[in-house]
Symmetry: C2
Subunit: 647 residues, 2 copies
């Protein structure tokens, strides 16, 4: 830990100390092919996992685990709701056990539940004119929950898709996606965060908006014009209504955006900007020595929209206001405030006391602490410069990305290049920034394995941050698990942060990419265990079950009760358009049935009292056994119907 004892005062880089390790962050080294692997210096320590003898592993093993094991039949203390990166799903993990309790298909196709296959899920995902799915890929990055009184209320989760700029909502009672909204005129939609309060009416002390940051500059609208003139491209911050999931407004910014944070009083949303240069290649994106965190004055933006002072872009009807610097010269009326922070920041996080946002430098070894009351002062015209809202900027290590909090005044920042988690004290950093040379900012650094991205603490993004667990989502596992070919698993390392020193509890594997997540106390989550049949307009009941035909459109209304489908045989003609509606009449908890139709590419499940449907063209003749895919009964294998398609 020698390298970590250099807690120098001041907000300038201490080049002597860190130069040896961060020299490779110079542009030339990063841009050339030869220098490219230097960004992963940690990989040089790699060994064959089969050997299992890496010293780092052995050391970690010695620390490991005790006292956090969840025995068979015991329940976990926390839920972690995580995104799955370019897997396109969300996941529910039990902690501390690391058990994957559920995959929630969102932007991906999942033939286990029939997501992307049933009519209901296709409607949520969106279809082309021919009825096929608009998209079958997605890249989920951030999961956040709805708030009330500054903590989770267990109603909703939101998760974004970076590829196709979509925001999805997940109902927390059923843990299923119920809405997907595509953001207009946005590309590289990365950060999201729900608000925690209305900016004007403090009685609306719960989430009613979700804010969305976008990384990429694109032509506005992106319809083929200006494709060769990137200087004209732009980037919009988006506000989505939490209930209707409709886009409320957008705000154009200078530079780009990345992660998003919101204040507990509802007045401010913010996004870190790694490309204030508006650059359109790697060199230009890194040219400035400082980037920024852009703050949005939510009340002012909404007042401006209400006053009709907005434009629309292309075919979108969403009001767009101008948050660029040139249009916001007077702080007293400005919609946005650009606070300079360390170079190419990646991450902005709100402290649970409601006072600060912390931006990590990524290419600067610093975290920038911004006092929200000073940002509000700037918006009131009472602060000299935006930079004056910064109250600390400690050097914390190399490649700082994201910061979590324990509710006891400490921050935990992931250090991508150092492969560490650094624990530091916010008040000490503020004291140091004011000139206290004795302030002990860095409390501890702990190796993680390896190259951490997001980290997040139990209830750490709420006022109820409890400082029990920290999860480090690591991008490389190298020698930590049995080898499984060229693609190793990634890891979610669980760290006990309740004591004076951090303790590594477990290495949990994760199917790429374990991007971000939240850790929620289990009492917050109240799920439904059985559906209400009447919630489904198409529900099949004995009085409407059967087969009906209108021209060449055949509707098959079927019920399931273990181990039977209500129709032993379904007869149609080749060329018919068949809609099969299936209601599961079983009432026993978890007595789910499946429905597969061979050669017709249909597979989905129906949970107890649930209804789902599929529509397909009977385009080839023959006999096709419809069978139950979800084990339901001793006679599950015998649970069948048959589709007879007559030539």
């Amino acid at each position: 830990m020698d390298r970590d004892s250099s807690n120098k005062a001041g907000n300038e880089l201490d080049t002597e100390v860190v130069n040896a390790r961060r020299g490779f962050l110079g542009k030339s080294a990063m841009l050339g092919l030869a220098g490219a692997t230097l960004g992963l210096a940690g990989c040089k320590e790699e060994g064959s996992a089969a050997k299992g003898s890496a010293s780092a592993s052995a050391a970690a093993a010695a620390k490991g685990g005790g006292g956090h094991e969840i025995a068979p039949g015991q329940l976990d203390d926390y839920y972690a709701f995580t995104s799955a990166g370019h897997g396109g799903e969300a996941r529910i993990i039990g902690l501390p056990s690391g058990r994957t309790l559920k995959r929630i298909p969102v932007f991906n196709i999942d033939c286990m539940v029939g997501w992307g296959i049933t009519n209901e899920s296709k409607k949520i995902i969106g279809t082309k004119a021919d009825g096929s799915l608009e998209y079958k890929t997605g890249d989920t990055h951030h999961v956040h929950g709805s708030y009330k009184d500054g903590t989770y209320d267990g109603r909703f989760l939101w998760v974004n898709d970076k590829i196709h700029s979509r925001l999805a909502r997940i109902r927390m009672d059923t843990m299923e996606c119920d809405k997907i909204t595509k953001l207009p005129n946005v590309m590289g939609f990365h950060g999201i965060f729900p608000d925690k309060c209305d900016p004007v009416d403090p009685k609306i002390n719960y989430t009613t908006r979700v804010f969305c940051g976008a990384e990429f500059h694109i032509p506005l609208p992106n319809d083929g014009h200006d494709v060769n003139d990137p200087d004209k491209w732009g980037c919009l911050f988006t506000c989505v209504d939490a209930d209707s999931m409709e886009v409320k407004w957008q705000c154009r910014v200078d530079g780009n955006m990345d992660l998003v944070a919101t204040s507990y009083d509802g007045k401010l949303a913010a996004s870190n900007q790694y490309n204030t240069e508006n650059g359109h290649d790697l060199t230009s994106m890194m040219s400035a020595e400082r980037d920024a965190c852009v703050f949005f004055n939510v009340a002012r933006i909404e007042a401006m929209v209400k006053a009709g002072k907005f434009v629309t872009i292309g075919s979108s009807k969403v009001p767009v206001v101008d948050g660029r610097k040139a249009a916001n010269g007077d702080p007293k009326s400005a919609l946005t405030c650009y606070v300079p922070v360390g170079k190419n920041p990646h991450g902005v996080n709100a402290s649970p006391d409601g006072k600060y946002f912390v931006c990590s430098g990524k290419l600067s070894p610093t975290a920038t602490v911004i006092d929200l009351s000073l940002v509000l002062k700037w918006f009131a015209g009472e602060l000299k410069t935006e930079r004056d809202a910064v109250v600390a900027e400690p050097e914390i290590g190399l490649g700082p990305l994201h910061t979590a909090f324990d509710g006891r005044g400490n921050a935990y920042t992931s250090l991508f290049l150092d492969s560490q988690c650094v624990k530091w004290n916010v008040d000490a950093a503020i004291a140091q920034y004011k000139g206290d040379k004795n302030a002990k900012v860095i409390i501890e650094k702990m190796d993680v394995h390896y190259q951490p991205g997001h980290n997040y603490a139990s209830m750490g993004e709420t006022k109820e941050a409890d400082g029990k667990y920290l999860n480090s989502g690591n991008k490389f596992s190298k020698d930590r698990f049995l080898p499984v070919g060229p693609l190793h698993p990634e890891t979610e390392q669980l760290i006990d942060i309740s004591g004076a020193t951090m303790k590594l509890v477990a290495d949990h594997t994760a199917y790429s990419e374990p991007h971000d997540g939240i850790i929620v106390r289990r009492d917050v989550v109240k799920t439904r265990q059985i559906y209400n049949m009447d919630d489904f307009p198409l529900a099949v009941k004995p009085e409407n079950a059967g087969i009906t035909r209108q021209g060449n459109k055949v509707t098959v209304r079927m019920m399931s009760v273990a181990p039977n489908y209500s129709l032993p045989e379904i007869k149609v003609k080749k060329g018919d358009e068949v809609t099969l509606i299936l209601t599961n009449h079983d009432k026993v908890e978890d007595l789910t049935h499946g429905c597969a139709i061979p050669t017709y590419d249909i597979c989905f499940i129906v949970n107890p009292q649930e209804t789902k449907s599929v529509t397909f063209k009977a385009d080839h003749a023959g006999a096709f056994w419809i069978y139950c895919t979800h084990f339901c009964h001793a006679l599950h294998l015998e649970m069948r119907s048959r589709l007879l398609v007559e030539a």
Copy 2:
């Protein structure tokens, strides 16, 4: 455990003992809606998981876990290769930790790796005339590995798709699917097993065939004829060449098939038959008091094929021989031998000593032990009846499904209805069957949670069965995990079977459906960690990188080296057909890059030294940022190219 002490001699059902619990297995109760939930009697014990107070859970917790924990940085002892049911994938689990080391996409679409999205994966899965995927659903049931000298050789895994009757192969060096074969004239393809030796040439002491059982009777061919005449339908057993993955031959049987087992000497393959009645509804499938295990004389079938004594069906050119009873009256020339076993059996497993196959009764509380030397005797005309090959048929409990072995003479059978695993001794069962009333057949019964399907033991399907671990794949978890809405996770319970009594080690969650698997010693598995660039014919190298056009077909040859793509910009015209070929030139282990193209529904990864390609029509104009999806470098977020589609 009172109910388990009834180890009666004889092969008849002891109706007095079991009637109370199996009364509901009568046809009338099972067929009616009212009685249907009785099949899951165990569900009545359910409680709210949130309470966490179920007595079964508490009892299990008291037993749990100690001594089997894998600390952070420690490696597991075993790989489990498992199927994922209607999730369509295969999985690699580390044991005893339960860590999911990898998901292997096979019949599903996986946008993390680009499975179903890249040209290479689409070619393996199969496409329609318009280039879209033929199928996007799958239902994987059984995973088995290739053999040499009676144990795993680490070359291949095979897994089946029940929905669309496909057999897939997975290379064990890269752990990726490399071939998928569709079986002709088969539906409900359920059981698979590789052979372990050539039936004629003992020097070919390794896997060269994979045998496939089919459940459903269908018209032959299934082209629209005979759809209303199920009595004319038939069912084929299929042999696939392990190397070419081409179908070698098929054999028509009476009744249906289900699971498959093969003998160590290569002479016999077998499949249990739950529908010897050729029934086409639930009632008729259960009408017979006994069903069968059908044995295939592999050498004779292949000699007959070689002699040209076969037919073909429809457009398929695969030789089909007749294994029905009517055509096989003389044992000395018979291709098949139908050994009567307990009613509606589900499961046939080979004992590691090579002597026996065990069939479980499912609707009979028995396991039937068949002596393979006696089956060979029957084929030699030296055994009076097929039934004389049975050497034991102990009563073991209710709803017996699958049997695993510990290599010490003990068998472990899953009891679906009893929610138990029963450990019983094969030699004792044989002695009891011969009349030894003092034979102690049942050694122990252990509750599992709940309703187990497949179980499998470490190396248990090889001559190296080591009797260390048993995995019980349970269909219901009920109160064992935190609730996550109407659909609970399923469970893989790990049991230590090395001692005198079974010990529950862990409750591992599984995303439905954890169907079947094998547990393999870690030294058997030898993976590659880096690809060989020259294995990819399309590999992009500096000398051929760039953009070329032929008419409206544009080929983009791009390289990746962290944090750069070799082309900062790709310009095409609306309407062009674009093929993007990407080779990852990074050589650092696990330094994988991704490639997403917003609005074009493209997302895939390239591992170090790997090449992949996608082809798409540039059907909408605009600027689209191609970005790296797989975290690769501190400047991962900045790793981009842009696709400019000019109107």
